[in-house]
């Protein structure tokens, strides 16, 4: 049964399975295990990024397409919901959310189709750079249309009553936790991400996924066999974009705020790349591991560095390097080292260790 | 007679494909050795391995007794080995003059080229003089081939590796090529040539090696093979006597 749930794509490694179970359990029980708004926020961000990066892995790891426009679709989803909710004022209902999401998906569909078909005329490297340019143009557009999008400041809005923090359906706490809209929102997020991830797992292990991988390995041959490479690549593009849009909508609903820095900035694109590389490309599980590692690092590394800075106070160069402001430096360094030493990501490393149930790989 | 080039048990892998399966080849100095075989037999792969473009995964390659197996392509070329690939390696944006300057490592400008050799090449291939400053991309197929060969010959070389020089050329051009290589033979330059044009092979070759499936299946004197029709049929599927 587990086999069917995971579409026959098992972790194939005791270590990996253990890590995944740990993460899944931690995420499932997060509201009960960790108290405080920050912890829950971190968990929610991990969930959103799992979905976002998994969709990117479909594109990069399975279809072999390097695109820098992924954050654009993420942003479209977030802004779609944000604008719909902001327009609705205080009477935000699920209808508004649906409208926002629907509009965002339509726009993403259109854009990803256009981008996908444009890849007909240009080589892969050109495509990557073009998506970079398109994404930065979109970012500029979003900040320019400030009446609609709130510009640099972004949008703050209300969400449907069920999800709002003030909604408390039960009088007594359950297992030590007061159930409120935030908790409900969290579990909604969890369910959607879990379903989405399993669906992606199904997709990459289907004939569609295999064709994508064949195209990635040798597109010339795939075309010769009879697969119209452009069509398949465009489909992959569209699917990945749709999932990213959904992830954006989820983030918007959780944060009740959407701004260019949470969704559209190049930093987010870099984060996605970091996660997919560190986690392991072409595995989907890499997205889970990578997202957990990365979001934890992003939020708690600075605290760790602050500790280190205090310890090294007074030491000339080192104290400046270990300052919490320099966390991106260490992350970048770690990233470079990861690309060297973990070419197949953490998942690849774990799978290479002894403790695999089957002997073949 | 010493061997200018020898391959001992050379294997080559390109990605997952095992292309050369233990090639043993000895190219005597001062002679022209023809490398024959059906398409896909591994002839081009052998030349590329000698030049270091594809590293040998096993075996030893020696040039004048020195092991060159692990050397890089530029180092191998600097030992005095010149290479004319099947695709000719013509730089379409560069002029004929540029090509010859490139061929002579010591030359910084056209004026530095060895005039005697240049005249000889102009005599062999008048088109070079005519189109001296034209971009090579505008030359005809045959002229490009001549340019590729001239580039290999502008500087003295000890070993010349040539891959199908007559491919796609009109018979008149092929005669020119034979003339050029005959002169080289006279100068006792060692040549290892892959050729499908069997008339040319017969005219120029002193020795012959036949390849099949990444291995050498026959070596010997060209004269022997030329006289033995049965052997020709067996090795090549057709006879050398037929004008190609």
């Amino acid at each position: 049964m587990l086999n069917r749930l995971l579409s026959h794509d098992l972790p194939r490694s005791r270590w990996l399975a253990a890590a995944l179970l740990l993460i899944a359990a931690a995420l499932l029980l997060a509201p009960f295990l960790f108290h405080g708004a920050k912890a829950l926020n971190v968990a929610a961000k991990v969930l959103v990024f799992i979905l976002l990066v998994a969709s990117y892995d479909l594109l990069l790891g399975y279809a072999g397409i390097v695109s820098f426009a992924h954050t654009m679709f993420f942003g479209i989803g977030a802004y779609g919901v944000a604008i719909a909710c902001a327009r609705a004022g205080s009477g935000v209902g699920w209808g508004h959310v649906a409208l926002g999401l629907g509009g965002a998906l339509a726009l993403s569909l259109l854009l990803s189709l256009v981008i996908g078909l444009f890849s007909l005329r240009v080589k892969a490297i050109f495509f990557a750079m073009i998506t970079l340019a398109v994404a930065s143009a979109f970012q500029t557009l979003a900040s320019q249309l400030s009446e609609l999008t709130g510009g640099e400041d972004g949008l703050s809005y209300k969400v449907p009553a069920l999800l709002s923090p003030s909604y408390e359906p039960f009088d007594a706490p359950a297992f030590g936790l007061m159930i409120d809209g935030k908790v409900i929102a969290y579990y909604g997020l969890f369910v959607v991400v879990a379903l989405g991830f399993l669906a992606l797992l199904r997709v990459v292990n289907s004939p569609f996924g295999r064709v994508l991988q064949a195209i990635r390995e040798n597109d010339f041959r795939a075309e010769a066999i009879g697969y119209r490479v452009v069509v398949w690549r465009t489909l992959a593009n569209v699917l990945a974009a749709a999932v990213a849009t959904a992830a954006g909508a989820l983030l918007a609903l959780w944060l009740r705020y959407t701004g260019p820095d949470t969704t559209l900035s190049f930093e987010v694109m870099l984060d996605i790349l970091l996660i997919v590389v560190i986690g392991g490309m072409g595995t989907l599980y890499g997205a889970v591991l990578g997202a957990a590692l990365f979001v934890l690092a992003q939020n708690y590394l600075q605290d760790l560095l602050a500790l280190g800075a205090r310890a090294l106070e007074g030491v000339p160069v080192l104290s400046a390097l270990v300052s919490p402001d320099r966390w991106l430096f260490w992350l970048g360094l770690g990233f470079v080292l990861c690309v060297y030493h973990f070419p197949s990501g953490v998942v690849g490393r774990l799978r290479a260790k002894p403790g695999r149930p089957a002997a073949s790989e | 007679m010493t061997n200018a080039l020898s391959l001992e048990g050379v294997h080559t892998h390109v990605g997952p494909y095992h292309i050369l399966h233990g090639v043993d080849l000895h190219v005597p100095a001062g002679q022209v050795t023809m490398l024959l075989g059906r398409n896909g037999a591994g002839k081009t792969s052998t030349l590329r391995t000698v030049m270091g473009l594809w590293p040998a995964s096993a075996g030893v390659l020696r040039f004048k007794g020195q092991a060159i197996t692990a050397m890089t392509t530029p180092e191998i070329a600097r030992l005095g080995i010149a290479y004319v690939p099947e695709t000719m390696g013509i730089f379409s944006e560069l002029t004929v003059r540029d090509h010859l300057v490139l061929g002579a490592r010591a030359a910084r400008r056209a004026e530095d080229l060895d005039r005697t050799r240049l005249d000889w090449l102009f005599g062999l291939f008048p088109a070079l003089h005519k189109f001296w400053l034209h971009p090579a991309g505008k030359l005809s197929g045959g002229q490009k081939q001549m340019l590729a060969i001239a580039r290999a010959l502008i500087a003295p070389c000890e070993l010349l590796l040539v891959d199908e020089p007559s491919k796609g050329l009109a018979p008149a051009m092929v005669m020119k090529l034979i003339e050029a290589f005959t002169e080289l033979k006279r100068q006792r330059c060692t040549v290892l040539m892959v050729e499908q044009n069997l008339a040319m092979a017969k005219a120029l070759g002193d020795r012959v090696a036949v390849m099949d499936n990444g291995r050498i299946v026959h070596t010997g004197a060209m004269a022997e093979l030329a006289d033995d029709e049965v052997l020709q049929q067996r090795l090549l599927g057709l006879s050398l006597g037929v004008a190609a």
Binding site: M129, A133, L141, F335, V339 | A77, L133, H134
Partner: protein, 349 residues
């Protein structure tokens, strides 16, 4: 065979009587550039404004060209995608600010010679530091992932992030001013038809002159020296150049370092153009540079030149005519060019 040497000077010096079909220089992109400049005139309406904008566009374009020229050759020669090229621009710009700050006396003095001396020193220092950084970058970041495009993209981006952080470490994360020396301040009044005068900023003229000098220098190097010949051949067919006995890897390191030095020079020029620098300028300009080299054709210096000028002119014209569209003008231009020539203006291979 005859032994008589040819009399000197008998090598043909002109392409000669033989007309080969289609052996013409492809000037269409240049015509389009000229058309762009001319088209802008009626749209802008005012001759003086047109001249000012054109000068600004040319200056910006030439600075961008200086920055991008190294990038396109590096890709053309070794298929290396350096997404971290911006770090050399940033390093050069910041070194420039330090030098100019240190030579505040010369910068503020009334003597034009001292002014230019300070700027020259800043440029040289920037180029030296950027070159050193480039050599280190090539060795540590680029060389280990040679041949693997995806890893190159990722690791060079990572390298740029680390570099940017180091810059923030040394100079601080805030914006730093880049003071314009007296001699380059202000504008020159160019008399125009109809009595009015167009104001062309002195610094822009300086940038144009310098940019053209760099372009001319690059063209000379590429077309008149053996080194340039090797680069041009290597861009077309690296394997064949190696088979001719040239160590292309070494050549590549040289091109990489030279490209980094040029980026550093561009950084100083850009900083003076904006009169300030921020640590993010590398990342900000990266996208623009990629647009330029894609438009021009990866590996083509002339293409990079035309692309950079087009981008500079477009940015200035649209900035005046339709400011909201200005930021999309680059992408629009790139898309238009690629629809016409998918491999860029002057494809190399």
């Amino acid at each position: 065979m005859t032994d008589s040497p040819l009399p000197t000077g008998s090598l043909p010096t002109h392409p000669g009587e033989v007309a080969l079909p289609g052996a013409r220089f492809d000037a269409r992109p240049l015509w389009l550039l000229a058309a762009l400049v001319l088209l802008a005139f009626p749209l802008i309406g005012n001759g003086a404004s047109w001249l000012t904008l054109t000068a600004a566009g040319l200056a910006m374009g030439l600075i961008v060209f200086i920055m991008a020229s190294g990038l396109t050759l590096v890709f053309g020669l070794m298929d290396v995608l350096n997404f971290g090229h911006g770090v050399f621009i940033a390093a050069g710009a910041f070194v420039g600010t330090s030098v100019l700050a240190g030579m505040a006396g010369w910068v503020g003095s009334a003597s034009a010679l001292q002014n230019l001396g300070a700027v020259a020193l800043a440029m040289l220092a920037a180029m030296a530091v950027a070159a050193a950084l480039g050599a280190a970058f090539e060795r540590v970041i680029v060389r280990p992932v040679y041949g693997q495009h995806l890893k190159q993209i990722l690791i060079t981006m990572g390298g740029m992030t680390v570099g940017e952080e180091l810059i923030k470490l040394i100079w601080g994360p805030q914006q730093l001013p880049m003071p314009m020396p007296e001699a380059l301040r202000g504008a020159v009044l160019v008399p125009w038809f109809g009595g009015e005068a167009a104001a062309v900023e002195k610094y822009r003229l300086f940038a144009v002159v310098l940019g053209l000098a760099v372009f001319a220098g690059l063209l000379w190097l590429l077309n008149r020296t053996k080194l340039g010949l090797l680069v041009r051949a290597g861009v077309q067919d690296r394997e064949m150049v190696e088979a001719l006995g040239y160590r292309v890897r070494r050549l590549f390191v040289g091109v990489f370092v030279a490209g980094s030095a040029l980026a550093g020079l561009g950084g100083v020029l850009w900083g003076l153009y904006q009169q300030s620098v921020v640590p993010q300028i590398g990342a900000q300009l990266n996208t623009l540079l990629f647009i330029v080299i894609i438009m021009g054709g990866l590996g083509s210096t002339l293409g990079c030149f035309v692309g950079a000028l087009a981008v500079g002119l477009m940015a200035n014209y649209t900035g005046f005519l339709a400011p909201k569209l200005a930021l999309f003008s680059n992408i629009g231009l790139m898309v238009a060019v690629l629809l016409w020539r998918p491999q860029g203006l002057y494809p190399v291979r």
